[in-house]
Symmetry: D2
Subunit: 256 residues, 4 copies
């Protein structure tokens, strides 16, 4: 049942779907009509409602990605769910994992990490830009995940405070500058996952991997998401969209 | 520290990496030399060892996907990690989720679901082929996740036994035949995630969605994984590989 | 040497490159400065010139695709060079070929066909919309290829006037309605090339192929063009772009 | 009408389609039955014939790409039709063009260039490996295009003999070593088209472009061909296939 203060996804159609917080005197305005949010209190999740114009809408419980894509404030270029999902599965992160992430940016990856490490896990986020630290903190707070996360306004290339970590995620321009700190912070054999936008950065990572000699099982991948127009009479991929985000590099730290 | 009975990933290079169980008198044979597995007992994870020929290898703690790809017995076409990862993130599954999956097949998706629902969650798997039920059960047992999973030799199109589910995953040729059972088993507003290989099936799903009228926020996507050769002197995508697996359809069940 | 009346590509950078006709008293205005076109008369192709601001530009002889993309008036959705190029190579069209194309639309495919059939070849274009006939005619005139082309304001599903054709190109919503006319117009064994945007149309083509029984060697393909940002310090595919145009279906007409 | 000595494409189905020369006493053996080639003499193109087992086959006039893919001897990695088609359209090559290509290899690109420059055009091929020169010559002879082509066993990095060329195609590991010779051989403003497999080579090209200062309008692209299974009941992209061939770099030579 929907209560005041809940975040809801008001879904009219693919192009009109908004995340709002249920506040009694507030009104959601769309180009198809408005909805008084107070009317939602007491409805069941998934209920059908009518905008002022009679147009139907559905009140859905937002998923984490709904919230990330429609509620989060953005400070930076963000990592997309398609990339985050693959990085996390490849990282073996799960219930109880303790992980480091740098840089935090808007907090997209941070939020999903916090989600999957669960109540017993912990995410340590490094971010050099104090403005981003604030934005990410607000975002994590808004999805109720901030108590699993510690975001620090710190330069990870200067060192990693934690030890015995289960995985390290590097979403920063120069991930190779973190390599010297991996040995003391990450459990040997654990995954190191990087995300970089350009092939020049991939090449630099590979060169530093060769020198560093303690990262093996290095794989470079790209995840391409192809979204379709869902009209059953004219099914086809969308005409225009995102064509590149970045390269995912997965690897494992050896003992020596 | 590695103990007898542990599963280990012996990593020589990208093409020579094998998951084996540490058994004292067993030997792992590769085309680069052999390794007596008893020697691994007492080593730390990530340790470097030498094959009989002197070639270096690393002893890594296998990730869940390492185990799925290198240890699981296969009974059927499997869903790939690239697709599983995206499906799970879109499904909002997490710690404590109770989900239904049909059909189980080899158990790839089942295993990852079991991983992410955590100790307090539960996966109910439906599979009509009793041979697959056995294979999947062995696979889940081998990764220590079988106590979070209940696999049933049942036809899900005849009904869903569970109720108040957080998500339903349909990896079967005719997912639309399950639509009539969603209302009584799934929490309204929850995700229904489908995976089908052909565009004909996508079209049939879309047609049934239209008739059924209780699935909204329907998205059809394809995840393309592009893997690279990681030679730093000649970085390039691999020349030959998987070019298609299937289409992911995500949707949400409404109240009425 | 550049003469008055020539079409030139004034290239400043990737985002500032324009096709203009050299007219003595005209001026080309760009956001980097202007260029008096009269100054170009007598220059050699490829010459470097300076905009009013001192910014360098190059005067290039436009290629056919430069003209199509930067000079042609557009009446409709156009076929992209990536698709046209593949369609033409698969069609075996060359010097002296006589081909039919329907529908002409803006004339992109028509222009490239006219280019490759050469002076001794001939392109017969069918187009039901008389407005498009005019636009395409102007476009072909502007690139000097109109004497190889006959564009007719006719519905090809009512019949094909020509016979002994070397190839037929169908870029129209219902190519299957042309199948009954292929036997009398196309040399047996010759290619029939179709272009359709949706999978529903591909399916309908395949169903009609099955019934018609005289098209074999049927292949369905999609050409994806991935363009890169060419900064040598940060090479990467462009972030946003065209993600789908249509499906190319190639086939061959049998004798019976 | 089919005569003795003609090349024919005997098409049984997608997996059984072979190019053979019609020789009276020869027999084509397939796993679906055999066909006495003498029987084809006098048949019309596109005719239906029966293998010894009664299975139907069609006798098609081979296209240039049929011949390249099914008849040509291969000495090297080849450029694929998808890439060739795009390179040629971007190069503005057509009837009467005079072009240089290096290295020739198996002659795939050479053959298509020879096709499109027509009887009045000319292709000058440079190839350092004399074995490849022989293979390519045999291949071009077999498709009747050798009189438009001059293949030389020469290292193009030592110089280009021709002048006033309309385009230069560089399909070699180190295209940048040819840059110093472009000014004396290529008409200013004309296209220089390169094909390289790795991103390292793309980066080196871009670096040399910067230094050389006479190549503008530089574009880097990749053409991805996605082929479908054409079963109308289960339309889908093929599961496994070519995932990378190389990068196409197009550019234009300036006057100075």
């Amino acid at each position: 049942m929907i209560s005041e203060g809940d975040l809801v996804l008001v879904y009219v159609d693919e192009r009109r779907s908004r995340v709002v917080r249920v506040v009694k005197d507030k009104t959601l305005h769309t180009d198809r009509g408005y909805l008084r949010l107070g009317e939602l209190v007491g409805l069941e999740w998934g209920a059908k409602v009518r905008l002022s114009t009679g147009v139907a809408a559905y009140v859905l419980k937002p998923t984490l990605t709904d919230l990330m894509l429609r509620l989060f404030r953005r400070a930076t270029q963000v990592i997309y769910p398609k990339d985050i999902a693959y990085m996390i599965l490849q990282s073996n992160v799960g219930e109880g994992s303790r992980v480091v992430e740098a840089g935090v940016g808007t907090g997209f990856l941070t939020a999903v990490l916090a989600w999957f490490v669960g109540r017993s896990g912990r995410v340590y986020g490094y971010e050099i830009n104090d403005e981003y630290v604030k934005v990410a903190s607000v975002n994590l707070e808004s999805v109720g995940l901030s108590d699993r996360v510690l975001i620090k306004n710190k330069d990870i290339t200067q060192g990693i405070d934690e030890s015995d970590l289960d995985a390290v995620f590097l979403d920063m321009p120069n991930p190779w500058d973190v390599f010297p700190h991996l040995g003391s912070s990450l459990k040997p054999s654990s995954p190191v996952i990087m995300f970089v936008p350009s092939v020049n950065q991939v090449l630099r990572v590979l060169e530093h991997v060769k020198e560093f000699r303690r990262l093996v099982n290095v794989n470079v991948s790209e995840i391409i998401l192809r979204e379709f127009q869902t009209c059953p009479d004219a099914l086809r991929p969308k005409s225009v969209g995102v064509t590149h985000t970045g390269y995912i590099i997965t690897s494992r730290l050896t003992k020596e």
